[in-house]
Amino acid sequence: MSLDIVSKIKEIYSDFKNKLSDIQNRKKSLFKTYRTKLKEAKIKELQKSIKS
């Protein structure tokens, strides 16, 4: 019966890790998009400063 408890806890922990990992990936994707957009804006800023 003790084994039963351990295996259930293990299952819950794995499920938690999977869900957390999914959230982290979604966050990473948002950060990546933000970084890309900032880079594009930076390039535009630099191009503008060169032209002027």
Binding site: S2, L3, V6, I9, Y13, K19, K27, A41
Partner: protein
Amino acid sequence: MNMEFSKKEEVAILEKNEKSRISTMEAEKSDQEFASEILSRIENEINSESSSQVEVQKIEDSISLTNLATNEEIKKELDLENKLGDLDTEAKNVGEEAKSKISEITGFSKAYHHPEYRKNIAKQILEARKTGENAEKIRTDFYEKTTSEKESFELQEKERSIAEIMKEKDLVVVHGMLMPELNPHTLRGSDFNNKVLNNTRKDIGFEDTYNVIAGLSPTISASIPSPDRPNNGLAFRHGVILAEGQILSAKKEDSGSVAFSLYKRIPKYGNEDHKHSAIQPNIDIESIVPSAGQNSSTWNELTVEKPKIAGLFQDLSINNEYYNINNPKSKWKVIFPDRQESEILEEIEKEKAERKEELNKELFRMKEYSEKLKIPLYAFKNEEGELKKYKVEFTEGKHKDSYLKKIKYGFTDDNIPSEEKELIWSYNLLPTTALEIHNKQTEVSKDEKNQIIQSLKDKKVFSQN
């Protein structure tokens, strides 16, 4: 030993891909310790999940724009802050959900264990550790004995549900309650059997008991009335009918259950094979309803957790066999050996009238409680060997006006004789079923519960122990 090996393996597998510190958990750890370790890891992982704002700041520091307004425009365009905020909340919720699931698994039995049992096991484990005996074996035995409780509980979900019993079997589960204002000499349970209520307080009445159940849903003792038991198997002629709740134990006789706390009540008798727990492994409701025989106690006893109230009840039964002079078990000829039969019959009629008067008085008091507490009132009547259930409905009688006049001149309900009240209020008994009683239950709102709890605290109905 295999168990410990396996536990170590489980942990190792869990953490294999993560290369985490968890693999260092020692094999000697108990289930509780294992669970605590995992709980604390979940907590740490949620806390160490760096805040989205910090990450955003890092990105902005690495790509610094001259025009800061552009940052804000991009964030707005991406709806970045809202989306990240939602993900942070989601991560916290996922952690809370996992923690609550683990606590539910490991904490289940603990809530139902006999306090003495837990104390003894802890003592035995400590002793064994000191003397070098096998403490692990004691711990394993403990879990083997208790972890099947949850399974047993879940497998019998329907059998243990009061709502299901009402719907499927047309039975009612009741909790009898004292009405000290009318029956001052009836005794409350002893301090030993109830360590929660302040039993020394004589002014703890019907309404207070109602409030404890409605406001706090404590684990209570209850019974299923039956027409073949003395007094229909009722400890008191009035009380509450339950609408919901889970049955922890169900005994054919009085089990002398002891309330160790509001939510821990354990039978004292009839549980030799499972004294350690509040949960009786297998319950069979139908078998406990009828009387156990002539020498049995008058009522069956159930312990019920998370009870909800469906309504109030009053037993209006008059035991005609008791008032039958020719009944061989009748006491009348023994009490009055020298009297003529006609004289004895007169005595019987007198006592029967007194009994009726007593029941009426109780019924009218229950009417007041029913109106004040805004819950339905039901009556039981033992008729032709069957315990009939009725919804009580009061209507104004012919003499309502004179009654109001009496109130105006200072009469209270108690000093108006019940036969007179009958002229003022008449009542109808409408046949009903357990299912209808269940369906008419009213919910107690959170605000109402808070008010009730405050009133109980103010009145000091709970023991200080």
